[in-house]
Amino acid sequence: MAEMVEFPGPGRGGPTRDVLEVWAGTRRRSGLAPFVDGLRLLVRDPFALVGLVIIAVFFLVAALSGFLAPYDPYEALPTPEGELARLETPSGDHWLGTTAFGNDVLSQLLVGTRVAFIVGISAAIVVGIISTLLGLLSGYYGRYVDDVIMRATDVALSIPTLPIAIVAVAILGASLRNIILVVVLLFWRNGARIVRSVVLTEKEKVYVQAARAAGASHLYIMRVHILPNVIPVAFLWMTMSVAFAILAEASLSFIGLGDPNAMSWGQMLNLAFTEGSIRTAWWWVLPPSLCLVFLISSIYVVGRAWEEKTNPRLRRR
């Protein structure tokens, strides 16, 4: 006897579709689909699109800074008259003028872009990995593991960030490696919390229970059901960490704890500040300031748009 069933709904391909063909069709899927979807959503937001373009331009400049820089950023340049080209206003020779030490501002700016990306990206990758791992462990296994990790982040969250960074870099020595290390130590904690909260929501999903009831191992559940939801969030946190790291490096450099061998935007400002040129040499002060603002803000704007699109509670009906 035929049984009542809801209709298949408006036909799709009609009843002639071959089961095996359809089955074979379901075999092909891309693991990158969430990212592609996410990117598509981002591109639709004009602010995010502009942000993405700005980031891409900075990235290109960073990659090509060696080619683009007209002078050696550390070289004290002479004027045609043979004197030190000190605090020259922008000109055809020096598009962005020179510093109090006779360095070419544009060249320093370009090299600074590279430093920003080196610090930002390497710190973000490590932060991403650590936060994801700890967040997964804490959220998925719960109980004592969670208790210990979360209490640790509680304490870590009460420690003032920049002061500890200042002290740590002062003691360990001012180098890019140590700055990256300090950034990682500072930002794993927020990331771990964010990942953990996603895991906590995900692991309570009924389909995870169903997979458990079907005998799925922890690894299987993590891989198939939890990671796909964690990765976009972890990726967002990594993106934001790039900004945090650039910001932290700039702050440390600004107060004189930058790597003496890597001219960063923060260091340029530090030099301008300590030389007392802040109020006079606008060509020295503005470019690194604006670069910092545009790069960091662009990352924030993109991150924000991503969050706006992916947080179901913020989405418009």
């Binding site: 035929a2 049984e3 009542m4 069933v5 209709f7 298949p8």
Partner: protein, 356 residues
């Protein structure tokens, strides 16, 4: 402590407002969504006379809650609402924000489903009740609290619990608190939107009994929006059955449920499990709701109706009077008796999924 008011005396301090009549005509609600224009409600007429209770019943997606919210003008900004909602002759849909504020809660009060969120979690329940009173009457907070105490007595919650926060109440008590709040200004019309859906059966029964008792004692008009026809059968004098944004059948509850004229109502009855009497066969209605982005022409139920004809799929059936106050939107009212017999047999509803 104020003197314990008795059940009858308690109504006295509440302003004496007459029950309200409601007449909804040609109500349409649409949303612009990514895929097009979603017609959530597509031409609904309703009538509630003073002191009457109407059950608005239907399944998920039929538009019953949207109708309720449209009456109170609580729909989101992007909803497009057409038609008339006459409350004692005044059109709610054309009121200014100020007029709307004035009639809300004095003429039209809402009892929502209080699963968890119907009450603001950070305010004391007493303050939330007092808020509605102070907004409309020239009373200070203390006087408003006195009224709230009386209302709590009315719904059977100890007065001192007014000082509690919502999370300290159980589901049933929250529901009663919401009812007390709806009664705070003795509004002429109560709109109860799935008021017992989240409750266990025993609690649901008590709350419904209470709603019904208060509605009758205070002679309020009421619209009860629910998916549960049994709840309507026991609580409301009149019923309107909705399907896919339209009313398919309406009339006195007893007549509609005992002698349905619309095949959808027949199907609903057959699908409803009961514990009284002998065990009957349960028969489900095959098929799905039509797509409201692009509704089919003709009767919306035609694709699932075992009796549908080509005529049904082409021509919209109007609501026809089939008995005193009993309307049905089916082209074949004269065959209703035969339909009822056939609808009771499962073979009538059986379809072959492949050939559907």
């Amino acid at each position: 402590m104020p003197a314990q008011p008795t059940a009858t005396a308690s109504a006295a301090p509440i302003s004496d407002r007459p029950p309200v009549s409601l007449r909804v005509s040609g109500l349409r609600v649409g949303y612009r969504v990514e895929q097009g224009h979603l017609r959530a409600v597509d031409g609904v007429d309703l009538e509630v006379n003073p002191g009457e209770s109407l059950g608005l019943v239907g399944e998920s997606g039929c538009g019953k809650s949207t109708v309720g919210k449209a009456i109170l003008r609580l729909l989101p900004e992007d909803a497009r609402v057409e038609g008339r909602v006459l409350l004692d002759g005044d059109d709610v849909l054309r009121m200014s924000a100020r007029q709307l504020r004035q009639i809300r809660w004095t003429k039209l009060a809402l009892v929502t489903q209080s699963a968890m969120n119907a009450l603001d979690p950070v305010y004391r329940i007493g303050d939330q009740i007092a808020e509605s009173i102070v907004a409309h009457e020239d009373l200070d907070r203390r006087q408003a609290w006195r009224r709230a105490e009386e209302l709590f007595t009315l719904v059977g919650i100890p007065q001192e619990r007014l000082r509690d926060y919502p999370h300290q109440f159980s589901g049933g008590m929250r529901q009663r608190a919401v009812i007390a709040m709806a009664l705070s200004l003795n509004a002429g019309l109560l709109l109860a939107d799935e008021p017992t859906t989240a409750l266990d059966s025993i609690m649901q029964d008590q709350v419904l009994a209470q709603i019904q008792r208060l509605q009758r004692e205070l002679s309020r008009s009421m619209i009860l929006v629910t998916h549960d026809i049994a709840v309507v059968a026991e609580t409301c004098e009149k019923v309107a059955v909705m399907y896919a944004g339209r009313i398919t059948e309406s009339g006195p509850t007893a007549a509609v449920l005992a002698t349905p004229y619309h095949p959808y109502t027949m199907g609903l009855r057959n699908a409803f499990p009961t514990i009284d009497g002998d065990r009957r066969e349960l028969i489900s209605i095959p098929g799905n709701l039509p797509n409201l982005l692009d509704p089919p022409t003709g009767c919306r139920f035609a694709s699932r109706c075992p009796f549908s004809t080509d005529h049904c799929r082409e021509v919209d059936p109007p609501l026809i009077e089939v008995g005193p106050g009993h309307l049905s939107a089916c082209h074949y009212p004269d065959q209703a008796a035969a339909f009822r017999d056939r609808a009771a047999q499962r073979s009538t509803w059986t379809t072959d999924p492949g050939g559907g």
